[in-house]
Amino acid sequence: MKQSITMPVLSDTMETGRLVRWNKQPGDPVKKGEALAEVETDKAILDVEAFADGFLAGPLAPVDTDIPVRQVIGYLVDEAEKGQAATPPSPGLGEPAPIPSPAPAVSSTPSTPIMSSPSPVAVPPTQPSTALEKAAAFPPPSTPLPTGVRASPYARALARDLGVNIAGVLPGPDGTIHAAQVLAAALAAPEADLRQGPPYALERPSTLRAAVARNMAATVQTPTFQISARLAVEPLHQAAKKAGVTLTLAMARACALTVAADPWFNHAWTAKGVAKRERVDVGIAVDTGDGLVTPVLRDAARRPLAELAEDWRILLGKVKKGRLNPEDYQGASFYLSNLGIFPVVSHFNAIVPLGASAILAIAATDTQGKADFTLSCDHRIIFGADAARFLAALAKRLDQPDSSLA
């Protein structure tokens, strides 16, 4: 028996995963449940577990390469077939597709001329008709693509007509740039033209950074407004100390209770209608040193504080090890971002992530024990007066911290 090991699907949005390392080599015996390899997803590094006892067999997918989900990355064989374990899969019927040669996504070699001087391809103004209209005519040679990346003819034609520099378009999960990727690139904000500036080298962002960039860019279409208030933090701080919890947790609890009192802050705008959530999940921005993650406290308004404190401890531990799972950081209905540890920050505002109604930005506490609270809201859900009432209600809770921490 020879069974395929595939790139696991670890979240709904995950399209590719990057193999960090193989823990086993072809021919090594493995036990069911054992970690065969580590995969870096949007926000975490996860194990690829063996689903059965056997021996690992090649060819193995290369590390440090983006691989589409469900694609074969290696094989598990019985002992009986161990001898053939290293032979490549035959291309016969029913066999999984062979692994394509690794697409080194963006080359990190600084001197790659194409990558270090991306030149947008413009449609010559003298050209009377678009490439699509004149599909049979031979177009001028296309922009070369990075090694290992291909583009469909239609994608190239679309890119030409839309003025998209195809060399800068990220390929789809099969390693090919299709029309969908070009259209997405065309709709995306224009890229900065760095050619006039100082020389530079391109480096591939970590998957975490890339995910943050993608998520933040996706919020551009959310209509938002900010509203600020100076609220007293000190009473809550004292109460938290007394209760033996961190200020962050106490603040999350206070926010969750305020949200629960005004359900509109727990709703989300979707194309199909207003999503009314039955539970308040609070996401809290955490600095990892290499970017941002938002571990989520589930049901933060109703569950006992002690339980939340235990959850938070575990979450922070995972953040430290870079082992956050998608279910740990996805799907909050309200967000909290606290830069209070930086005394120099007197005021800031945050961006509302998709799926949330609002995010609360808390600056540093001043000598009077007060801090700047700025609420960024999705205006499709929250109106100015709602936001004002929210801050007023929160102010009340902060003044009477026991109501939050009881």
Binding site: L132, P153, Y154, G172, A180
Partner: protein
């Protein structure tokens, strides 16, 4: 509108043309007293007599050539070759005579000849009786070929073929003779070689013909439940091919799947893939894919035979793969 079997539709077309034009006659093995191996000429001999419904000896090359001689001198013969496999014995008549005479005579002689024959893989008839030879006949300039998939098309296209002054091959399918479908004798026929969009869709285009057209429609039903909207084009004609209809669809979907029962290597689908990539290359978002018969003589064993030609599941899998990387 009535429901008819494919063979009944062909029988009605024959009857209608023979009644309308007394220069129309048919000949072939067992077309007369026996009524045709697939009943297409049933009842015609009793109605029109021996000279118009002629049982022939087993001499494919010569009775096909006889049809050609008769067409040269003003009759409109409908030659039935019992199966396409026997047409190999008549290749000289088809290729060297029927296809060439109108041209070599500088257009002096029309060739109002119809060759009717079934092809394709039926049920365990063995390798010699389970061939798809359309690619051979497609490569003969001067011959034209229609491949009706429904009783209505069988009726329309046979009548149109009989009325044409060019040699036309009506390639039927052994497994379609007893398939049922609506037929309206009074409906206005589309042009003989026009392709038909049988189902609209936007995710990919599937081009098929003859029996594979119905298989493609079956697959499209399943795919629709998965949210994959497959457009299905029934070519209806293999020579000429209505490229415009195909091209318009590919311009919309950007993905093309060709389904043919013909063997893959140099089969009918190869021509479609080649021409459509010429015409649509810059509109293709993925390589053109073919689901075709395997490049082997048809095995006798039933399961192996079925596995050697496209099945609905093969079409579904190919469509999924083609649309997965969108």
């Amino acid at each position: 509108m009535t429901e008819l079997l494919y063979w009944q539709a062909l029988n009605r077309a024959m009857d209608a043309e023979m009644a309308a034009d007394e220069t129309v006659f048919t000949l072939g093995e067992d077309v007369g007293l026996y009524g045709g191996t697939y009943r297409v000429t049933e009842g015609l001999m009793a109605k029109y007599g021996e000279w118009r419904v002629r049982d022939t000896p087993i001499s494919e090359n010569s009775f096909t050539g006889l049809g050609i001689g008769a067409a040269l001198t003003g009759l409109r013969p409908v030659v039935e070759i019992m199966t396409v496999n026997f047409a190999l014995l008549a290749m000289d008549a088809l290729v060297n005579m029927a296809a060439k005479i109108p041209f070599m005579s500088g257009g002096q002689f029309p060739m109002p000849l119809v060759i009717r024959m079934p092809g394709g893989v039926a049920r365990q008839l063995g390798a010699q009786h389970s061939q798809r030879l359309e690619h051979m006949l497609m490569n003969v300039p001067g011959l034209r070929m229609v491949v009706p998939a429904t009783p209505q098309d069988a009726y329309w296209q046979l009548r149109q073929a009989i009325r044409s002054d060019d040699p036309i091959i009506v390639l039927e399918h052994e497994l379609l003779y007893f398939s049922k479908g609506p037929m309206d004798e009074s409906a206005v026929a589309p042009a003989m070689h026009q392709a038909m969009v049988r189902r609209r869709g936007s995710a990919l285009t599937c081009i098929a013909y003859s029996r594979m057209a119905s298989l493609a429609l079956e697959a499209a039903d399943t795919l629709a439940q998965e949210g994959i909207a497959m457009e299905v084009i029934d070519l209806r004609s293999l020579s000429p091919i209505d490229w415009q209809t195909c091209q318009q669809s590919v311009e919309k979907t950007h993905r093309l799947l060709i389904v043919e029962e013909d063997c893959r290597f140099a089969g009918a689908g190869a021509e479609m893939a080649a021409t459509l990539q010429e015409r649509c290359f810059y509109l293709l978002d993925a390589p053109i894919q073919r689901v075709a018969g395997m490049d082997i003589p048809t095995p006798f064993n039933g399961a192996m035979e079925a596995a050697s030609i496209p099945r609905s599941a093969d079409i579904i899998a190919a469509a999924r793969a083609l649309t997965a990387a969108a």
